[in-house]
Amino acid sequence: MSEKNIIQITDLTKVYGDGVKIKALDNVNMTIGRGEFMAIVGPSGSGKSTLLNMIGILDTPTSGTITLDGVDITKASEKERSKMRNQKLGFIFQYHHLLPDFNAVENVMMPLLINGIKPTNARAKAHTMLKEVGLGERINHKPRQLSGGENQRVAIARALANSPEIVIGDELTGNLDSKTSEKIYELLRKLNREHNQTFILVTHDEQMAEKTERIIGLVDGKITEDKST
């Protein structure tokens, strides 16, 4: 396995349901390199979220293996999985999922605090991250005081707070208008270039997908295309 590859997926299959079986992922094989900026596209129900959740260690495969940064996560303990989610992975979802009782900087601090970093250091890092996403002035606002796009920026800052190797986004602009979406994508691209983190983004938006370096197409749980742009 090359050191260049941060993610190695081998014969990954996920079957849902006890009675009627749904094969959400069907023998998927792929490798993702360090610092790649890529998109996963495909029709609804094709298994995009399922694949992302597997990579994000939020769900477990029925068979096959996933190796993240040299560690086989299918064999990892619950504790190791939590630790990897915290340190190696950053999540951005369609809804920002910020904690409503905490303001922007406190939300961004959260993964750092979970990681055991001292509050003063965590606050400084969180502030830096918020500046990077262009919200340096609004750090004390609660989610309900910010717009959808702004909240999504806070969520991005939070996903990047622990400097994870891998950032995954599941339709993270699905709730935003096209102009805001475009800005968010540009932001992600900029962050990807600056920090050399791997970005895996699921999207319905063909135009957005075209802006990434690599597009993986999924249909019925199988990879149907894998093209570099």
Binding site: N53, G56, L58, D59, E78, K79, S82, K83, M84, R85, N86, Q87, L89, F91, F93, Y95, H97, L99, P100, D101, F102, M110, P111, L113, I114, N115, R158
Partner: protein
């Protein structure tokens, strides 16, 4: 320690709902503290009255014997024992007392007044005359207040005392005693030697009363006297075992009620936590995605139960304390027969009652938090995130 931050924020963001559960806990703790303080006060009062109105240890004749002869030796043996504060030998028997056409049954005790006072604190109950007056020359007697009322006699009157098989003797009344108990209807005191003469039994007594320095350490002493002298020595605890058992049974009964009251406040904690957990499904999913361990999720919600509980307990303790103080300062009119001569509620503020009520409440509050907290910690992150 981010867990405590999250727990505090959850509570602060729902101040109105959480206030209700805090009040429920506070009220339950306050009610139980007041109730415990009353029971403790009541119990101590009964014990105090019991201990005050009878000898701590009573030595009676050996089995199949009616008298203690050679009582001087026995008395000095008892005096030498550690923990003995005072000893009083007495000759006590039933007698009939007559004044004009009134005749009443009485229990006539022949005592040495100084000794008897040391053991039973009789002097403070004298409402007329002096207790030592029975030492004077001639037959002298002190009567219980109710007995005197029934005989329609007062100080300086002369009554006739008799018992079957003896010739009646005249005794001059030199004092009236009122203990506040039913004994006042039959009580009669006279000088020991005169009573022994009266019954024609000099040199013997019917019993010895003992006062001890530590009323709760009385049983081993009684046992030792019993064992080493062969006489029957019974402690106040043995004599009052019925009432002590009753008090213990009462304690166990009210404990069931305490549990029920605590259960109500526990439910209110469980209720608010269920509400928060339900509201926070998406947040819990995100926390798990951010790498929060399931143990930390459990801790967050248990902490919330604990924080609400501890605030409730503190407020409840203050409320309970203030209520006790207020109740103590009020004189509540109660029939004296009912409350052993008390004219106010016997409330005793004891720190252990606060500790027990607080600790118990906390245990129940944390228990109430376990189910919702456990549910939160077992959530599937994907489902939780999608639920929003």
């Amino acid at each position: 320690m981010f867990e405590i931050n999250i727990a505090l924020r959850h509570i602060k963001a729902r101040r109105r709902q959480t206030t209700f559960s805090v009040i429920a806990v506070a009220l339950s703790v306050a009610i139980i503290i007041v109730s415990m303080s009353m029971l403790t006060g009541f119990r101590e009062n009964i014990i105090e009255t019991t201990v005050e109105n009878q000898a701590h240890i009573t030595v009676s004749p050996k089995e199949n014997e009616d008298y203690i002869s050679l009582y001087h030796g026995l008395e000095s043996f008892i005096r030498e024992q550690e923990g003995v504060a005072a000893v009083s030998s007495y000759y006590k028997r039933g007698a009939a007392i007559q004044y004009r056409h009134n005749v009443e049954g009485a229990v006539l005790s022949g005592v040495r007044p100084v000794d008897e006072d040391h053991v039973l604190n009789v002097k403070k109950d004298m409402i007329a005359g002096e207790f030592e007056s029975i030492l004077g020359t001639g037959n002298r007697i002190i009567l219980g207040s109710k007995l005197a009322d029934k005989l329609e006699v007062g100080i300086d009157d002369t009554v006739t005392v008799s018992f079957p098989g003896s010739k009646p003797s005249d005794f001059k009344i030199t004092g009236i005693i009122q203990t506040g108990t039913s004994a006042d209807e039959t009580l009669a005191y006279a000088n020991l030697e005169q009573v022994q003469d009266f019954y024609g039994k000099s040199g013997i007594v019917t019993g010895i009363g003992i006062r001890v320095s530590d009323v709760y350490a009385v049983d081993p002493l009684a046992d030792r006297i019993d064992r080493e002298t062969g006489y029957d020595a019974e402690s106040w605890m043995e004599q009052s075992s019925e009432i002590l058992n009753l008090l213990n049974t009462q304690r166990q009964f009210v404990f069931i009620f305490y549990l029920m009251i605590f259960a109500i406040s526990g439910f209110s904690i469980a209720n608010i936590l269920n509400m928060i957990v339900m509201e926070k499904v998406g947040e819990i999913g995100m926390l798990l995605a951010m790498g929060t361990s399931r143990k930390s999720i459990l801790a967050i919600f248990l902490l919330e139960a604990g924080i609400l509980g501890i605030i409730g307990v503190i407020i409840g303790a203050v409320l309970g304390y203030v209520s006790c103080i207020l109740l103590i300062s009020y004189t509540i009119p109660v029939p004296p027969e009912m409350y052993f001569g008390l004219d106010h509620l016997p409330i005793r503020i004891a720190s252990e009652n606060f500790l027990i009520a607080g600790a118990f409440s906390m245990v129940i509050n944390i228990l109430a938090g376990i189910n919702p907290a456990h549910r939160a910690s077992k959530m599937d992150p994907v489902e939780a995130i999608h639920s929003v």
